[in-house]
């Protein structure tokens, strides 16, 4: 028997005046998935998250949470919790009371809810911070409180709105690992919104790439990265060489848009690509060189250890035929 999906969208549309923030989205998030909604700002990903939590209502289409239609269910009755972008901690309550808030409004007495909140603070490694006010915490600590405040309610789905956006790089990487480990341990469904493709690729089991209110592609990180469906996805996820139909044809493919990842290109004695190196950029793990072919800029990533041609020198590049990935866009 197939499992009931955690969340499904069926042709969901949400307008803001003339703007279609979400435009006919179909989506299925499996139970226990770590699902990412990726896209630039204004692409509709945050609105989708707010449609699940109930802060927005769809103009058309239906949303189901664990099989139940939620079109008439207000946010406070949805067993779904959110980690907000700016955390939205209650400034007048202590950290412990912040975490216990959800239990308190559901009518749980002090004697029961405070130990539960303390236990959850322990899970996010803030056991000694319960008496503080949110203003006395650092950004990373506030983020953990927001997480504990949501998780203590044992939600069926946890929504995270750019949860790591306000943290610095080091802390962000540490939190990525922690979130991932936490999700595995609890077996919860996580849906998180981000504009950072690296974060989405490294954390998610599957992801949806949003473009102008529509989903451009859904798949595993590997699928989305290696087989982008459109020019938008190829360009937004990782970096890619976008080849116009004429160039694809010149490189031995059909007259269609195609993408070619920079790391798929390698130096060779003979090959279809030949040009003058215009610049290179040292990236630590390797060097990125750029050249122009039939008016299109191409980038190639040469791993550390391979010889680096000088700027101005002529090079020949080759690639495996299967690396040339055809895109769905109309020629």
């Amino acid at each position: 028997m197939p499992q009931t999906p955690a969340v499904t969208f069926s042709a969901v549309t949400r307008h803001f005046g003339p703007v279609k923030a979400v435009d006919g989205v179909d989506l299925t998030v499996a139970e226990g998935a770590f699902f990412a909604m990726l896209g630039p700002s204004g692409s509709g990903k945050t609105t989708c998250l707010r449609l699940i939590s109930g802060f927005e209502r769809p103009d058309h289409g239906a949303i189901h949470i664990f099989g139940q239609d939620v079109s008439a269910v207000p946010p406070h009755l949805r067993n779904v919790n959110t980690v907000f972008q700016d955390y939205a901690l209650f400034p007048h309550l202590s950290v412990l009371d912040n975490v216990a808030y959800g239990l308190m409004v559901k009518g749980m007495g002090k004697a029961q809810r405070l130990p539960k909140a303390e236990a959850m603070l322990d899970v996010v490694k803030l056991a000694d911070y319960g008496a503080r006010k949110p203003a006395q915490l650092s950004g990373g600590q506030r983020q953990r409180v927001a997480l504990a405040r949501a998780l203590v309610n044992e939600p069926k789905v946890l929504l995270l709105d750019e949860p790591l956006g306000a943290l610095d790089l080091k802390l962000r990487e540490a939190m990525q690992d922690e979130l991932k480990a936490l999700q595995r341990r609890l077996g919860l469904t996580f849906i998180f919104v981000t504009h950072d493709q690296g974060e989405a690729l490294s954390m998610a089991d599957s992801l949806a790439v949003f473009d102008k209110g529509k989903i451009a592609q859904i798949g595993t990180p590997a699928q989305v990265y290696t087989q982008p469906a459109t020019r938008f996805v190829a360009d937004f996820v990782g970096s890619s060489n976008l080849l116009p139909p004429a160039l694809t044809q010149a490189l031995g493919g059909p007259a269609q848009w195609a993408s070619l990842r920079p790391e798929a290109l390698r130096l060779a004695d003979s090959g279809p690509i030949s040009g003058v190196v215009q610049s290179h950029r040292y990236l630590g793990t390797g060097t990125r060189i750029s050249l122009t072919l039939h008016g299109t800029d191409l980038a190639a990533f040469l791993p550390a250890g391979s010889p680096v041609p000088a700027e101005g020198s002529r090079v020949t590049l080759t690639f495996a035929p299967e690396a040339l990935h055809l895109l769905g866009d109309a020629p």
């Binding site: 949470i65 207000p74 406070h76 009755l77 067993n79 044992e154």
Partner: protein, 311 residues
């Protein structure tokens, strides 16, 4: 296993669902009482005022004639009444300008230099006179400006009587004593409305980022140039916000010119006397329409200048 959807068990919970499905309902419920109050009592009164200004007053019977006419507005345009309007406007303008000039150093110092304890002293030092009793303040100046009062005493003690006498001998603004001259009225208006100018000004100056001033001096501007080209233009919304108060309050005041000054009439006094002793409500209403029109124009301009953020 916990459910994905909770049941609404209480009335409060169910009502929340109703509010969520019909957001306008909650908004309507919240806004109905204040809108009824402000709409019925305040806007209704203003409408009644406007209607009455189109009625006329029969001088012989002393009764209001409830028929639409423009004769009341024609009476408003008589030279005597026009001079009242002009006098009030000039006073409001002078008071606004003078308040802005006196307020600026206080606001500038409080915003830029006062720190910690001094910041609180400045804030309270302006807040308290702002909110403390209007009549007490007017009364204080009746004491100060009286012929036998402290100003006369201080002038003779410092041998500056000549200065006071010269000021009182000025044509038009002077008079027998400060408490019976336009000069006195002007001083009291400035005093009473000054805090209304300082606070928005201070807020606006505080909003000028220090980085901008540093950038300006970094680009080679002198302190004076920075002040005139950066600080002042950026503080202008605060000045305009403050002037809304000083202008409006001066336009409508009838107590200060009644207690300190010549017996010449101002718009506020005219409104008060016409409706009171004479019972000529139509003409009083027509008089009151003038500050409304002036303030509506003023508020529209101020809104365009972004002064509402500084309020």
């Amino acid at each position: 296993m916990s459910p994905a959807i909770f049941a609404a068990t209480t009335i409060a919970s169910r009502l929340t669902g109703v509010f969520w499905r019909r957001p306008k309902l909650l908004l309507g419920l919240l806004l109905a009482p204040p809108l009824l109050w402000l709409g019925m009592i305040y806007l209704g009164s203003l409408a009644a005022l406007l209607v009455q200004s189109f009625y006329s007053f029969d001088d012989f019977s002393g009764l209001v004639v409830p028929q639409f006419t423009l004769t009341t507005y024609a009476k408003l345009a008589s030279p005597a009444n026009l001079s009242i309007i002009l006098r009030t406007l000039l006073m409001a303008l002078a008071v606004t300008l003078a308040s802005a000039i006196i307020a600026f150093p206080v606001a500038y110092y409080a915003a830029r230099y006062a720190r910690g304890r001094w910041k609180a002293v400045f804030y309270l030092g302006v807040m308290l006179p702002l909110w403390s009793s209007y009549l007490v303040k007017v009364y204080a100046f009746k004491l100060i400006l009286a012929k036998e009062g402290i100003v006369t005493w201080a002038a003779s003690a410092t041998h500056t009587d000549w200065l006071l006498n010269a000021a009182l001998a000025l044509p038009f603004v002077g008079g027998a004593s400060l408490s019976s001259s336009y000069l006195g009225t002007f001083i009291v208006f400035c005093y009473v409305w000054l805090p209304y100018m300082i606070l928005p000004m201070q807020a606006a100056i505080e909003r000028v980022p220090l980085g901008l001033l540093e950038a300006s001096s970094d680009l080679g501007a002198t302190a004076r140039q920075t002040f005139w080209t950066v600080t002042l233009p950026l503080a202008l919304p605060g000045v305009i916000a403050g002037s809304i108060f000083t202008f409006s309050l001066t336009l409508g005041d009838y107590i200060i010119p009644q207690i300190i000054g010549t017996s010449a009439s101002f718009i506020g006094m005219a409104v008060y006397q016409l409706q009171g002793t004479a019972g000529n409500v139509p003409l009083a209403a027509a008089f009151a329409v003038i500050p409304i029109l002036i303030m509506l124009v003023y508020l529209t301009l101020a809104r365009k200048a972004g002064a509402f953020d500084a309020l």
